[in-house]
């Protein structure tokens, strides 16, 4: 029977299926961090159960760790408790951990791919909704709750009802200066935050094939923001090239066997999806959010919407509330919105390619007066790579803060937070009320928009920048 990519990967992992029950799905890789795991280990301990496969489990510290003074004891007592708890649990249950100070420490969704642990055709879960990031490699990857974390620790499986499948086909090529982030923000505004609910989404089409692995990760990362269970992309040469040579990638004959299998991971020509959406990349432009969910977005060249213009009552009310929270007037050109803080980082846009692109735009400029730019690499490896390339110097010379690795201001669990009323342009994935700090106002943006905004102090794209004067 013809199958979609998601169905192939799913079916390869069904350990047990029974009428009227969810499938029992085998999990190839379980990623763990300090915030959603303590109660799961506690459950194991209470029941006297071991971790079934420590060799398929990896832990990092990312969500609440400080991005300055990481070599000193963690100042926040509660963060310290969580990190200490993770360290104790990892030691007790024999789980590999990359703690603060380790070269592989960083955001769990950056670390998996950079280690080569994220590979096509796998099932990957983590107690974090942005696990969908790993779908970029053609894996089924999704976020789970703490009870499920405990379930995977104890059994290396999960009970899951098989989701429906959807294809999002993005034809054409992205115009220059328009990125994967703009693509996914456009998609979410187009579909609404609930549009993907109940589906595993396969992103396909020319614009997706033309993306780098980093870009694909950005797209898959935000699948959850429009409600999808997971998002994935068929592996191709770009994928294989990215994985080859990574520390945990298959080697020698194993590599050949793996690639041969990975090449079968494409949707069969005559397979059908339960739902399809088609978009055209060639008409996409830099895209930003104006509201308090990722589906409240508009072209950077546009204006803050007028709530009355929304057809649905629900959307009108939501827009009114959002504008009030965001402190925005309907009709204001987005380019006139002043920004206090620019955050470059997160598992959406905190990889080396993102930092390179930001540095390229910022080089020779200064961060605008009254604006601060926070650059937080997704992992220590990304940080070191960036420093080797001199990117840190570009950022510091411009007046930016160059930080240690972690989630940082993406969710404001560590000291990197917005103050009430403070406005940010953020390369992260969520603009919910208070996400980046109580009362903070977040505009989700791409890397080029973040960089240009830092320089101009208002939401901008690189096209708005004065050319840098280069000394002869």
């Amino acid at each position: 029977m013809a199958k979609t990519l998601a169905e192939k990967v799913w079916d390869e992992h069904v350990v047990r299926s029974a009428e009227g029950e969810p499938d029992l799905l085998y999990i190839d890789l379980h990623l763990i961090h300090e915030v959603t795991s303590p109660q799961a280990f506690d459950g194991l301990r209470l029941a006297g159960r071991p971790v079934r496969r420590p060799d398929l489990t990896l832990a990092t510290e990312d969500h609440n760790v400080p991005t300055i003074d990481w070599d000193k004891p963690i100042a926040d007592p509660v963060s310290k408790t969580q990190v200490d708890t993770l360290r104790n649990n990892a030691a007790e249950f024999g789980v590999r951990l990359h703690p603060l100070g380790d070269i592989e420490q960083g955001i769990v969704h950056v670390v998996g791919p950079q280690l080569g642990l994220t590979q096509p055709g796998m099932t990957i879960v983590c107690g974090d909704s942005h696990t969908s990031t790993h779908g970029a490699f053609g894996a089924i990857a999704f976020g789970i709750g703490t009870s499920e974390v405990e379930h995977v620790l104890a059994t290396q499986t999960l009970m899951q009802a098989k989701p429906k499948t959807m294809a999002v086909t993005i034809n054409g090529s992205l115009p220059a200066g328009v990125t994967a982030k703009d693509m996914v923000l456009t998609l979410i505004t187009h579909t609404g935050t609930g549009g993907g609910q109940g589906y595993i989404v396969e992103y396909r089409g020319q614009a997706i094939e033309e993306l780098s692995m980093e870009g694909r990760m950005t797209v898959c990362n935000m699948s959850i923001e429009w409600g999808a269970k997971a998002g994935l992309i068929a592996p191709d040469q770009t994928t294989f090239d990215y994985i080859e040579g990574k520390p945990e990638a298959p080697k020698g004959a194993d590599w050949d066997a793996a690639v041969a299998h990975w090449k079968t991971l494409v949707t069969d020509a005559d397979a059908t999806y339960d739902e399809e959406i088609v978009l055209d990349a060639s008409v996409m432009t830099p895209f930003v959010t104006w509201g308090t969910n990722p589906g409240q977005g508009v072209a950077l060249g546009g204006t803050v919407p007028v709530p009355a213009d929304f057809e649905e009552e629900q959307d009108r009310v939501a827009a009114e509330k959002a504008l009030e929270y965001m402190g925005l007037e309907a009709g204001t050109p987005m380019r006139e919105v002043r920004v206090d803080t620019v955050f470059v980082g997160s598992c959406t846009n905190g990889r080396i390619e993102d930092l390179r692109l930001a540095a390229e735009i910022i080089k020779g400029h200064k961060v605008a007066e009254g604006t601060r730019l926070l650059v937080v690499p997704g992992s220590v490896r990304v940080r070191l790579q960036a420093m080797e390339e001199g990117l840190d110097k570009v950022f510091s010379d411009a007046g930016a803060e160059w930080r240690g690795a972690g989630c940082s201001m993406c969710l404001g669990m560590n000291p990197d937070q917005l103050t009430p009323g403070e406005r940010s342009a953020s390369t992260s994935n969520r603009n919910f009320e208070g996400r980046q700090g109580k009362g903070g106002r977040t505009h989700l943006v791409s890397i080029p928009v973040a960089a240009a905004t830092a320089i101009r102090g208002t939401l901008s794209s690189p096209a708005d920048l004065e050319p840098v004067h280069v000394e002869a």
């Binding site: 350990v15 590979q119 709750g145 009970m159 935050t193 609910q197 299998h261 629900q314 969710l411 404001g412």
Partner: protein, 200 residues
């Protein structure tokens, strides 16, 4: 996990759509390492407003939440479910739940009863007229009930069969799965050798 058959309790109308898990419990409250004590963080931003519905005395002992569509979107934090439970909620009624939230609820023993949008509206109207009234969420018959007499609201709700069975029986997932440990071991023997390991 305690068995859930039917629950009748004071219902509180939360007239908002898209209540994401950051609103249910902001990230700053996630730092505990236990499953209890999260009630303080529940809807904390809204609760600082004295007019917020949960602050009204008639809802002090509320145990059923009646919310707008797309409840529980956003982060996967199960703390959102615990916070609701720690506060005293046994069931949430909405016309649409985010997938992860629904899954987490079922696992932790909170009933996420999905009803038609019109039913939510009717219950809201009923609660507006009778603040502090109770609503029944009957898992056995999959019905929600409110009011009495000719105006009584009785309607069915959606919950998948498997979750319903587990909640009714009060069964823990890990125990159920471990009863299939031999099937899991057998599956493991057929995994390709090139699949990655985190420890060698």
């Amino acid at each position: 996990m305690d068995k859930f058959t039917s629950h009748t309790g004071v219902a509180v109308p939360l007239k908002r759509s898209n209540v994401d898990t950051d609103q249910i419990i902001p990230a700053v409250y996630l730092k505990r390492v236990t499953r209890s004590g999260f009630e303080d963080g529940l809807f904390s931003a809204w609760r600082s407003d004295p007019d917020f519905v949960l602050n009204k005395p008639e809802y002090a002992s509320a145990s059923v939440l009646v919310a707008g569509p797309d409840f529980g979107t956003g982060s996967s934090r199960e703390h959102a479910v615990w916070a609701l439970q720690n506060y005293g909620f046994r069931a949430v009624i909405s016309s649409r739940f985010a997938d992860i939230f629904r899954g987490n609820s079922g696992k932790a023993g909170l009933v996420a009863a999905q009803v038609d949008e019109k039913v939510v509206q009717r219950i809201w109207d009923h609660l507006d007229e009778h603040p502090g009234a109770t609503v029944t969420v009957d898992l056995e018959s999959r019905t929600v009930r409110a009011g009495e007499g000719p105006d009584a609201i009785v309607d069915s709700f959606d919950i998948d069969d498997y979750t319903r069975w587990r909640l009714l029986e009060g069964l823990d997932d890990v125990g159920i799965t471990l009863s299939h440990a031999d099937v899991i071991s057998e599956f493991e023997t057929s995994r390709p050798s090139w699949k990655p390991l985190t420890q060698h």
